[in-house]
């Protein structure tokens, strides 16, 4: 029988793509390009929101109904990709958004809707704490479990439940962010 390749924790082949995106983001911030900052902030935020909502409210319930081997197979293929995709989307959205706010004078306390900007800090702060404390560690831990010769399905289920649940929470909070952002932009 063919031996299956071990689960990759970090998809190394995708790192050049990440490097290009980060370099373009740095260039956009350095050049204060209004269009590029808008692009990174809007495109990053949109994809991040959609991905979180998809994971939390669509894929999560489907995953819960799959058989354990099917769950393990899906997890093996999905999680390494998310290790890179989610942090890149978050960095794109937040870095471009902060620079855009600076550029537009929204960070200044004299800005008429400054309270909305502060509200967005609070929402992002809560999302960041959830993502750093629960979501990302669960993502890494499930990959370590899958690399074992005999992964424990109970551990995988526990970690995946945590991952999907926290992705759903951050997705729901993104709706709050969308309300704040559209309020600021209108």
């Amino acid at each position: 029988m063919d031996r299956e390749a071990p689960v990759e924790i970090l998809p190394v082949k995708a790192l050049p793509v990440v490097a290009v995106i980060v370099a373009a983001l740095i260039a956009a911030i350095g050049a204060n390009s209004r269009w590029a900052l808008d692009f990174f902030h809007v495109a990053g935020g949109g994809i991040w929101t959609a991905l979180d909502l998809f994971l939390g409210f669509i894929l999560g319930p489907i995953l819960g109904r799959l058989s354990i081997p099917a769950r393990v197979e899906l997890t093996k293929r999905l999680m390494p990709k998310l290790v890179l995709i989610i942090p890149v989307l978050v960095t794109m959205t937040l870095a471009a958004g902060f620079q855009l706010a600076r550029y537009n004078g929204m960070l200044d306390t004299s800005f008429p809707r400054h309270a909305w900007v502060v509200a967005s800090f609070a929402v992002v702060g809560v999302m960041a704490v959830i993502a750093i404390s629960l979501l990302e560690p669960a993502n890494i831990a499930v990959l370590f479990e899958l690399r074992k010769p005999q992964p424990n399905p109970a551990v995988i289920e526990k970690l995946m439940r945590r991952f999907i649940f926290t992705a759903g929470i951050t997705g729901a909070m993104q709706i709050g962010t969308l309300i704040i952002m559209t309020r600021l932009a209108s």
Binding site: V118, S133, E136, A154, V155
Partner: protein
């Protein structure tokens, strides 16, 4: 089908360090949001220092609780936390550079740098712990 011993291993009791370190990060996020809300003016530093001190204490309590664990995969913890720490040194370095580039100085810079230091420690501990708690020591 999940065997009862597999479920028992997944659900075994561990010190509540995830909650503590999460609280530590939340206090830092609160402090940074507080300081940022006053930009470009300077915020009164008292509340920010209070949040920083509370965050550092909660982080320390978590470390002490974890340090008392005998049946814990310390090698795996050090490996994962070490690599994550390396990544966060780079992240924190870039953020510190941005503080200095933006002419942050004096007491505000000291408070922000200390907040950044706590921020740099908590995620590696969280990732290392979450991975190591499910590893067998023997």
């Amino acid at each position: 089908m999940i065997a009862p011993e597999q479920k028992a291993w997944a659900d075994r009791k561990v010190p509540p360090v995830t909650g503590l370190w999460m609280l530590s990060l939340a206090l830092i996020a609160g402090g940074v949001s507080y300081l940022a809300a006053y930009l470009p003016k300077r915020a009164p530093l008292g509340p920010a220092v209070g949040l920083l001190a509370a965050s550092a204490i909660v982080l320390g309590v978590g470390v002490v609780l974890l340090a008392g664990q005998r049946d814990f995969a310390w090698r795996r913890f050090r490996q994962v936390a070490g690599w994550t720490f390396l990544a966060y040194i780079v992240i924190a370095g870039m953020i510190e550079y941005a503080f200095i580039y933006d002419h942050t100085h004096g007491a505000v810079l000291i408070v922000m740098t200390l907040m950044l230091f706590v921020f740099m420690l908590a995620p590696p501990l969280l990732v290392g712990f979450t991975v190591a708690r499910f590893q067998r020591t023997s």
